[in-house]
Amino acid sequence: MSKPSDTVPGDLEAPDFNEGASPADLEPATDDRHTVHDLWLSGTEAPRQLGSFTHEGAQEMLHEESDQILSSQRGTIVEDDFEGAAGSGDDELQIINMGPQHPATHGVLRLHIELDGETIRRVKPIIGYLHTGMEKTAEALTFMQGSTNVTRMDYLSPLHNELCFSLAVEKLLEVEVPPRAQAIRVLMSELNRIASHLLWSATSGFDIGALSMMIYGLRERESVLEFFEKTTGLRMNHNFIRPGGVAADLPPGWQGDVMGIIETVTAGVADFETLLLGNPIFIERTEGIGILTREECLAYGVTGPLARASGIDYDVRKVFPYSGFEQYEFEVPTASNGDVYDRFVVRFEEMRQSMRILEQVVETIPAGDYRTENRKVTPPPRARIDESMEALIHHFKIFTEGFRVPAGETYQAVESSRGELGMYLVSDGGPKPWRLHVRGPSFAHVQALPMMLTDSLIADTVAALASADPVMGDVDR
């Protein structure tokens, strides 16, 4: 051995990572080991420059930007409420980095923040750390398999993803879903909204400093997840709502379970309101923080509880009803200040309205099939497969090749826990989508962060960010 220092115990030759070492310097016998394998051995790699890990290339926030970029980072495009600029010398400004590994960013969101002392002057959200190319993956999966894929996008409201995808496919197929399947879909997606809001109130209460919220929120959510597990077999990523209906009928005794959940959550929400909404510390931390005005919401496509807290009574369930939502009585709660406090108020009230819908579903659910009888999308019953060769072939074809969907394009929206979840589905007439674009509500909400955060204190970032409830799986897809 020419370089004993590179040898590790056990007679294993370590590859030479020294910069400048050309293949000619190495012994011929070891040559292809160095070129073929990129072997990592502890202590042998060259020291890495830490600086190169945090730069974001073209997405980085710079000290000097064009006026257009400045106005978007200051959030002044729609409404110029910027207070900074005057009085603050440029040498007092510093750009700091929050995320992608920050515990309060709810995943892998990264913010570049320009600070003037403790006051935020500019914000640039940097996303993409959770991008897994799910829209491309969707093009390689059949329509039958598609709901397995989309359910993993917004992982806190998987049933809404499935519902949106299934509705889009059914729209192109022109397949009618039986009333019982529609009611099951309504029941499951409203339960999912409650579970998601409970988790949200747990984590955002925790972020603001109400530590006990973390325990209470997750405890109430558990009751919903137990019901999901009983019904779908899984606690998340259910793949329960599928094109043509749902995967299975509700389990025996589900009415009792749902009424039990309503009781638990009603008591829980009342507790949360006592814990938080009247608490002076909580009010101090949330009132007037992270304000979005009505105009800003409209221009930036902010939907869901955020828009409703800013006085926009836009709810896809009311405005563009789907899956029989028009049969149920519920209200769309709104508030007017558009701050973090109002988002808490709106979301708590939304849970109550969801429970109203659940009660109505339990009372009015019709009997019948839980999936369509249309044999184009639904495989033949198990009993038929034993006696009929054609049924067996049919079953096999549906699960291998998939069913063909007529060529066309459609946009389908549902009200997910976070806002308008839309899917633009293009079919070329084959068994797989030609293109599936997902309009995740969190994507728009992350974009609106500069308007919420500028001119507030750095400590309020966490409160405002939590109130936006971004799910990075939904943002990056």
């Binding site: 997405q59 996303i127 993409g128 829209e135 409209l298 221009a299 930036y300 459609t410 946009y411």
Partner: protein, 159 residues
């Protein structure tokens, strides 16, 4: 022009060459890319003030190759409008709509990142989901799944 929504009468008059259609219950307008900014301004003035979505679709063998699909909502009339802009493959550019709907900013960056449609006049047209060093636009149809190795920008520098 019976297919156009009733609240767009003024827009229909001003843009007589724009085709309106009803597709599976949705109002759809096909707009030439030169007119898209003016058309959207007029649409916004007619009440479609809520920006919802912008995405691009690659049809590969069709002319124009790309469709840029814009979704807007009029709250007062509870109506949705889908504006489709054809963008040819060799010259895949269209004017930015961020001047009309500021919220299109991230969506245009996404369409640029994943499909390579450039938006002229966009303030900061950079990649948004993929790393800067990524070559190509993965949602284009000529890119097969799995043909691109995972790119970590530090992988080659480590040695």
């Amino acid at each position: 022009m019976t297919a156009a929504p009733a609240n767009l009468a003024a827009t229909v008059e001003a843009f007589s060459h724009v085709e309106f259609d009803r597709v599976l219950g949705d109002s759809v307008a096909r707009v030439p890319r030169e007119d898209v900014v003016g058309f959207l301004e007029s649409v916004r003035a007619a009440g479609y003030e809520m920006f919802i979505d912008l995405c691009a679709v690659d049809y590969l063998v069709r002319d124009p190759r790309f469709d840029v699909v814009i979704n807007v909502v009029a709250l007062a009339d509870s109506s949705r409008l889908r504006v489709i802009v054809g963008v040819p493959g060799p010259d895949s550019t269209m004017p930015t709509i961020t001047s009309v709907y500021p919220g299109a900013d991230f969506y245009e960056r996404e369409a640029f990142d994943l499909l390579g449609v450039s938006f002229e006049g966009h303030p900061d047209l950079t990649r948004i989901l993929l790393p800067d060093e990524w070559e190509g636009h993965p949602l284009r149809k000529e890119i097969a799944i799995g043909s691109v190795p995972v790119q970590f920008k530090e992988a080659n520098k480590a040695q």
